[in-house]
């Protein structure tokens, strides 16, 4: 019940495309859903996050869509650029603990 399932494992898109990364969770006590971006040799960095009281959040070219009834959330990257090539992790937190449970990651490559 503590798992966060992420797909796909890897993704290749052309510049300008819209990659979509999906995550699913089981624990209904989760109330915070962030996405982290990680470049090679660096630690993950918070990209965007959402709480379950809204269905969508946009920050620049990055959008989180949240479906509470399906217990799913996804990251969309509009007008993707080669500089967006990185590993993306979804995560979930909340309930009795402040700990984040991370998905397994998606390696995104945006080709020029």
């Amino acid at each position: 019940q503590q798992q966060v399932k992420q797909s796909p494992q890897s993704l290749i898109v052309q510049k300008g495309g819209i990659p979509i990364i999906n995550c699913a969770y089981e624990n209904t006590a989760f109330d915070y859903f962030p996405w982290y971006q990680q470049f090679p040799g660096k630690g993950p960095a918070l990209l965007i996050a959402i709480r379950p009281d809204v269905s969508e959040k946009k920050e620049g070219r990055f959008t989180i869509s949240f479906n509470k009834s399906a217990k799913q959330f996804s990251l969309h990257i509009m007008d993707s650029q080669p500089g967006d090539s990185a590993t993306y992790f979804c995560a979930a937190g909340g309930g009795a603990t402040n700990k984040l449970i991370f998905g397994t990651g998606t390696l995104l490559a945006v080709q020029p």
Binding site: P34, Y36, K42, G43, P44, L46, K99, L100, I101, F102
Partner: protein, 112 residues
Amino acid sequence: NAGVTQTPKFRILKIGQSMTLQCTQDMNHNYMYWYRQDPGMGLKLIYYSVGAGITDKGEVPNGYNVSRSTTEDFPLRLELAAPSQTSVYFCASEASGDYGYTFGSGTRLTVV
């Protein structure tokens, strides 16, 4: 502001050796975490701390120990290194309850 600083960046250990991975943050964050990252497995929580003098086990604590004598420092100790502990280790911190994790740049450990 340095954020979260991890040392060393790289280390090779022989089986059975011990070492301490250092983590220091200068943001006066109460919460600190140690994660390990393995290919295709995402980030797994090893230990965490909600304040000085308080630590607790995460998902994969076996083979590790931690201490938290000050707010700033959260070292991770490996007593008898095993090949299964070959991984990239990340330390993170956050202010109480906001889930805004700040990660260090990681320590790549190889046990041979």
